[in-house]
C-alpha cells in the first residue's frame, strides 16, 4: 500500500521527530509513504491573512503536483498544512472561476481528484484495522488528547470529528492501551503563530492547557500538530512564568505513542528530541 505524503516545512525542521514517528509507524504496518516531489510551503500560517489568491495558489500547486504524480490520497500530518490543503481543495471545487484564475496563475492543471488525509484519518483508515496482535507494549498511561484549533475546524469544510468535543484521537489512544481523560481544553488555542511575536500570550494560553491536563492527572499531552507541539513543549519558560510554577508534563505526537505501543524503539521515534524529557 502506497500513499502520498506532504510533510510541509515544520516536519523537515523543528518537528523532525514527527516525521520520524509517522514513517516508523507506517513502515511497521506495511504502508509506504511517498513524498510529493518538488513540493512547496503551503503558506500557513501567514498567507491567508495577507493574500487570498496566494494562500490558495500555494496549496493548489502542491495538490496539482500530487495529482500529476498519480497520488490518490495524500497524508498531511501537520494540522495547519492539512487545514490549508483541505480548504483549498474545497474552494477550488466550489468556485470554478476562482480555480481558473489560480491554475492559470501557476500554470498547472488540477482536476481535484486528490483526497487529503490528516494523520488521524490515515491511522484510522490504514493502521488501526491491522493493529490486532501488534500492540506489544500498551501505553498504559493517562493521557490528555489535545486537538487544537485546526484539526477539527471549520467543520463545514473538513467534515471531520465533532468540532467542539472531538473523540477520534481519544479512541486511537484507547487502542494504543492508553487511558484518555475527560478534560476542558481539547480544542482551545495554544497561541499558534504568536510563538515568536508574543511569546507571553503563548505562555498564558498554553499554560492553561497544560495546567488543566496536569490537574486532571494526565501523564502526557498528545498532539497531532507540530505548531501545538512546539508551543507546549518548547515554550515552557513562558508557560512556567505565567503559571508561577514549573510544569513538566511531556508532549507527545500520536504517532510516537502508537510507535511505542508497537514496540518501536524510542530513538527511531525521536523521543530524545523533545525539550521536556519524556520519562514515561
Amino acid at each position: 500500500m502506497t500513499l502520498g505524503l506532504y510533510p510541509g516545512c515544520s516536519l523537515k525542521g523543528s518537528s523532525r521527530e514527527y516525521t520520524e514517528s509517522v514513517l516508523a509507524v507506517a513502515q511497521a504496518c506495511g504502508i509506504e509513504l511517498v513524498e510529493i516531489e518538488d513540493w512547496n510551503c503551503c503558506g500557513a500560517t501567514a498567507a491567508h491573512n495577507l493574500n487570498k489568491e496566494l494562500s490558495l495558489a500555494l496549496p493548489a500547486r502542491i495538490l496539482s503536483l500530487a495529482e500529476k504524480q498519480g497520488m490518490k490520497e495524500v497524508v498531511v500530518p501537520c494540522a495547519a498544512c492539512y487545514s490549508r490543503l483541505t480548504v483549498t481543495n474545497h474552494e477550488l471545487a466550489v468556485h470554478p472561476e476562482l480555480k481558473q484564475t489560480i491554475t492559470k496563475g501557476n500554470g498547472l492543471d488540477y482536476k481535484g481528484s486528490v483526497e487529503i488525509l490528516n494523520i488521524i484519518q490515515m491511522l484510522d483508515k490504514y493502521i488501526t484495522p491491522n493493529l490486532e496482535g501488534r500492540i506489544v507494549k500498551p501505553f498504559e498511561h493517562k493521557v490528555a488528547c489535545y486537538y487544537g484549533c485546526l484539526l477539527v475546524r471549520p467543520h463545514e469544510i473538513l467534515k471531520f470529528d465533532r468540532e467542539e468535543d472531538p473523540q477520534s484521537m481519544d479512541e486511537l489512544m484507547l487502542k494504543a492501551g492508553a487511558t484518555p481523560i475527560d478534560w476542558a481544553f481539547k480544542t482551545e488555542c495554544c497561541g499558534a503563530g504568536l510563538s515568536v511575536s508574543r511569546t507571553s500570550s503563548v505562555g498564558r494560553l498554553s499554560g492553561e492547557i497544560l495546567k488543566d491536563a496536569a490537574d486532571r492527572g494526565a501523564e502526557a499531552v498528545i498532539v497531532a500538530c507540530p505548531m501545538c507541539q512546539s508551543n507546549l513543549d518548547m515554550r515552557r519558560e513562558a508557560i512556567n512564568s505565567y503559571l508561577g510554577e514549573k510544569i513538566d508534563i511531556p508532549v507527545l505526537y500520536v504517532t510516537q505513542v502508537l510507535g511505542l505501543a508497537l514496540g518501536i524503539d524510542r530513538k527511531t521515534l525521536g523521543l530524545q528530541r523533545h525539550f521536556v524529557a519524556v520519562n514515561i
Binding site: H155, E156, R162, E164, D165, W183, A184, E188, D212, D215
Partner: protein, 667 residues
C-alpha cells in the same frame, strides 16, 4: 356564435400611465366574436361593474374578458358581477394588464402591444370556455383536535362552546402539554398550573368533547368537511371505567427509578404512573417498556393491590374510526436536548440543565418542591448563569431562527431565582433581548433593575468543570469583547425550541406541508396564519413555530373560529377547477388506457380506479377517475397522462391551446 365583451380598466393611472388603454379596447373591438369593447377608469367600482352587467344583458354577451389587475385581486368581484347579470361566472376571464404589464414595463408602443396580446389570448380562450358549476359537498360537524397542550385545549373549548362536537386526541397520558410543566408564567408571574388545570378539567367534563389520551392519529382519508380519521388508542393496560384513581397501584409498584418525563428527568416515577398529581384524566397507565411483568412475565403487584380490579394486562391497542369535518393540529414543540452542546458540557455535567428543567426546579409541584437546588448534590446554587440562544440564531447548529420565548423565560427564571435565593448572584449571557409584547420589556427591566440580575451581552464559548465549579467562559461585547470567566454552581441553557418529535410523519398523514425546520406550514405567513394548504386543516400554537402562551391561545381561538365558520354551513361550495378524466361513447368509453401513472403522480391521492362493466357485470375496462372532493386542481396528473385523457376544468387542453394559437396567429 360567441358574443364577447372586453372591458379595459385604467386602474386609476396604474395601467393607463404606461398602456394606451383606448387603443387596447379599440383593437379588441376588431376581433372575431367581440361585440362590445370599452375602457374605463375603475372597472371594479360600482359604475364599472354596472357597465359589465348592462352589456351582458343588453348585448346578450356569452363571454367577458376584463383586462385589469391580477385575478388574485378581483376575479371573485368580476365573476360575481357576471353571475348577477345571468352569465355563468366561469365565462369571465381576466387579463392581467397591471402586474404582468404596466407595472413591469416602461411606457411605449411595445407595452401597449403586449397588453393587446394579453387581451387577445383571453378572448380566444373564453370562446372555448364551458359553463361550470361550483361543487357542493356536505359537512360533518365534528372537529378533530390533535394535541392537548394549551393550544389544543383552547381550540377544543372554543369549538365545543360554539355548539359543535370535538374529538381531542393527546399522545401522552395527560393533557396539559408544556404549560403544565411551567412554574410561573411571564409577564405576570401567575402560577401556570393554577390557570391551566381548571381548563383541563373543563375539557374532560364538556359534553361536546370526547377526550382520548394516550392516543395518536393512525391515518386520515377524505377531504374538507368529510374526513375519516383512524385513531390509535394505545393500551393503558387499565379499564378506565372501573379505575377510581385511588393511586394504590402507583404507590406499590416496585419499579420506582424511571426518570419522570414530566419532571424532565429530575424526578422519578413508577412503571404504572400518573404523570403528575393534577393530570387529566387522573388515572394511571402502565409503561410497558419498564414494567417488570411485561419484561420478565411476573410481578402483577398493581393487579393485586387494585381495590376495583381495574388492571388489564392483556388489553390491546384499539382503533377508533371517526368522521370529522375539520382538523386542528396543536401538537406543540419541544426543546433541544443533550449532545448538542459538547462545548457547554450539556449531558456531561448534571448541573448544566435546560430551561424546562429549571421550570421543574422552580415549580411548587416539582422534585424540590420549588426550591432551587442543583441536581448533582442538592445544594442551593450561590451563583447561577443563564445562557440565551443556546442553539437558536446559530446556523452552525442548524437553527438560524430565533426561538422567540427564551428571552422572556430567562428573565423570569433569573427573577424567580433572585426571589427564592436571597443573596444569590445570577448572570444572563445574551445576544439581544427580544422582549416585544405587552408588558414584556417592562418585565425584563424589572429583572435587571429591581432584582439585580446581571445581564452580560456576549456569547459563552465553553463551560468546564474545575474544583466543583462550572467555569463559564464568555465575553462581554459591550466592554470590547472583554473575556468574562464566571465560576458558577449551576448553568441553565435556553436551548432552542424545535419541532415536536413525529411532526413530519403527522404532516404526511394529514397531507399537509411542513417547513425546512419541520414545523407545520401555514397557508400564508400574513393573511392565513392558522390555515394550512389543505382545506379544512388548521394550525394552533407552537406546532407552527415556537410561541408563548398568549400567542398560542390567540391562534387556537383563531383556528376555532375558522372551524366554526366551516361548520356554519350545511354544504360547502368549492371551485370546480378540478381534474376530470374524459368519458366517451361505447365501445371506447374513455381515451384513458388505464396505465394509472396519474394515480402515483397525484399528491392528494385523489385518483381512483373505476371499472366499466357490461350488462352482464363483466369488467370490460378499468380507467382512472378523479374524486372531486379530494382533487385540489394542481394539474400534476394532466402533465403525466400520456394519452391526454385528463383535463382541468377551466384550463382544458383545448382552452390552453386556443390561447397559444392566439399568440402565434397574426391578426
Amino acid at each position: 356564435m360567441s358574443k364577447i365583451g372586453v372591458f379595459v380598466c385604467h386602474c386609476g393611472e396604474n395601467i393607463s400611465a404606461t398602456v394606451d388603454c383606448a387603443k387596447v379596447a379599440e383593437t379588441a373591438a376588431g376581433y372575431d366574436g367581440v361585440v362590445y369593447s370599452i375602457d374605463y377608469k375603475y372597472m371594479c367600482s360600482d359604475p364599472g361593474q354596472s357597465l359589465i352587467k348592462s352589456a351582458i344583458i343588453e348585448k346578450g354577451l356569452t363571454g367577458v374578458v376584463v383586462a385589469s389587475c391580477s385575478p388574485r385581486m378581483h376575479e371573485p368581484t368580476f365573476r360575481k358581477a357576471c353571475a348577477e347579470a345571468g352569465l355563468n361566472p366561469y365565462m369571465c376571464e381576466m387579463a392581467n394588464l397591471r402586474e404582468h404589464c404596466s407595472w413591469v414595463h416602461e411606457k411605449g408602443d411595445a407595452t401597449t402591444e403586449k397588453a393587446i396580446d394579453l387581451v387577445r389570448i383571453l378572448v380566444e380562450k373564453v370562446k372555448k370556455n364551458h359553463s361550470l358549476n361550483a361543487i357542493k359537498v356536505p359537512v360533518t360537524k365534528t372537529a378533530l383536535v390533535i394535541g392537548g397542550g394549551i393550544a389544543g385545549i383552547q381550540a377544543s373549548l372554543d369549538i365545543a362552546n360554539s355548539g359543535h362536537k370535538v374529538i381531542l386526541i393527546e399522545r401522552d397520558p395527560s393533557i396539559g402539554g408544556h404549560m403544565s410543566q411551567l412554574s410561573e408564567t411571564f409577564p405576570t408571574l401567575d402560577c401556570s398550573q393554577c390557570i391551566l388545570t381548571p381548563r383541563m378539567v373543563e375539557v374532560a367534563q364538556h359534553e361536546n368533547i370526547t377526550l382520548y389520551t394516550y392516543a395518536e392519529l393512525e391515518s386520515l382519508e377524505g377531504f374538507v368537511g368529510n374526513f375519516k380519521a383512524k385513531i390509535r388508542r394505545k393500551s393503558k393496560s387499565l379499564d378506565e371505567k372501573i379505575c377510581t384513581g385511588c393511586g394504590q397501584c402507583t404507590t406499590k409498584c416496585p419499579v420506582k427509578k424511571i426518570p419522570s418525563e414530566f419532571n424532565e428527568g429530575l424526578g422519578k416515577r413508577t412503571a404504572i404512573y400518573v404523570p403528575f398529581p393534577q393530570a387529566v384524566p387522573n388515572k394511571p397507565v402502565i409503561d410497558r417498556v419498564n414494567c417488570t411483568y411485561y419484561i420478565k412475565g411476573k410481578c402483577k403487584v398493581c393487579e393485586i393491590v387494585c381495590p376495583t380490579k381495574a388492571i388489564r394486562f392483556d388489553q390491546e391497542d384499539t382503533i377508533v374510526e371517526a368522521e370529522v369535518g375539520a382538523i386542528v393540529v396543536a401538537t406543540g414543540f419541544t426543546v433541544k436536548q443533550p449532545d448538542f452542546f459538547p462545548e457547554y458540557g450539556f449531558g456531561k455535567y448534571p448541573d448544566v440543565i435546560t430551561g424546562l428543567q429549571f421550570e421543574r426546579l422552580a415549580s411548587a409541584s416539582g422534585p424540590t418542591l420549588g426550591e432551587i437546588r442543583r441536581p448533582s448534590d442538592g445544594k442551593v446554587p450561590e451563583k447561577i448563569v443563564f445562557i440565551a440562544c443556546a442553539g437558536s440564531r446559530d446556523p452552525a447548529k442548524g437553527i438560524p431562527y430565533c426561538s422567540k420565548i427564551c428571552c422572556m423565560y430567562i428573565a423570569k427564571h433569573a427573577m424567580l431565582y433572585q426571589h427564592k435565593v436571597h443573596g444569590g448572584k445570577s448572570y444572563v449571557f445574551y445576544m439581544d433581548i427580544r422582549a416585544g409584547g405587552k408588558m414584556y420589556e417592562e418585565f425584563v427591566r424589572r429583572a435587571i433593575e429591581d432584582d439585580g440580575v446581571n445581564y452580560i451581552r456576549g456569547r459563552v464559548s465553553r463551560i468546564y468543570e474545575k474544583n466543583g465549579k462550572l467555569i463559564v467562559k464568555g465575553a462581554d461585547t459591550l466592554l470590547g469583547a472583554m473575556p468574562v470567566d464566571i465560576d458558577a454552581d449551576m448553568v441553565v441553557l435556553a436551548t432552542a425550541g424545535i419541532a415536536n418529535e413525529g411532526s413530519e410523519e403527522l404532516a404526511q398523514k394529514l397531507h399537509t406541508s411542513y417547513d425546512s425546520y419541520h414545523f407545520f406550514s401555514e397557508a400564508h405567513p400574513k393573511l392565513k396564519p392558522v390555515e394550512t394548504n389543505t382545506a379544512g386543516i388548521f394550525l394552533a400554537g407552537a406546532c407552527q413555530s415556537p410561541k408563548d402562551i398568549p400567542e398560542s391561545v390567540a391562534m387556537a381561538s383563531g383556528a376555532a373560529v375558522k372551524v366554526a365558520c366551516l361548520f356554519s354551513q350545511d354544504e360547502l361550495t368549492r371551485e370546480p377547477l378540478i381534474a376530470v378524466v374524459n368519458r366517451q361513447a361505447a365501445p371506447v368509453f374513455s381515451s384513458c388506457v388505464g396505465c394509472f401513472l396519474c394515480v402515483s403522480a397525484c399528491p392528494y391521492q385523489a385518483i381512483e380506479k373505476e371499472e366499466i362493466k357490461n350488462r352482464t357485470g363483466e369488467v370490460i375496462k378499468t380507467i382512472a377517475k378523479v374524486n372531486p372532493g379530494l382533487c385540489q386542481g394542481c394539474g400534476t396528473c394532466v402533465a403525466f397522462c400520456r394519452t391526454k385523457s385528463i383535463d382541468i376544468q377551466g384550463y382544458t387542453h383545448e382552452e390552453m391551446y386556443s390561447e397559444v394559437m392566439a399568440l402565434l396567429n397574426e391578426y
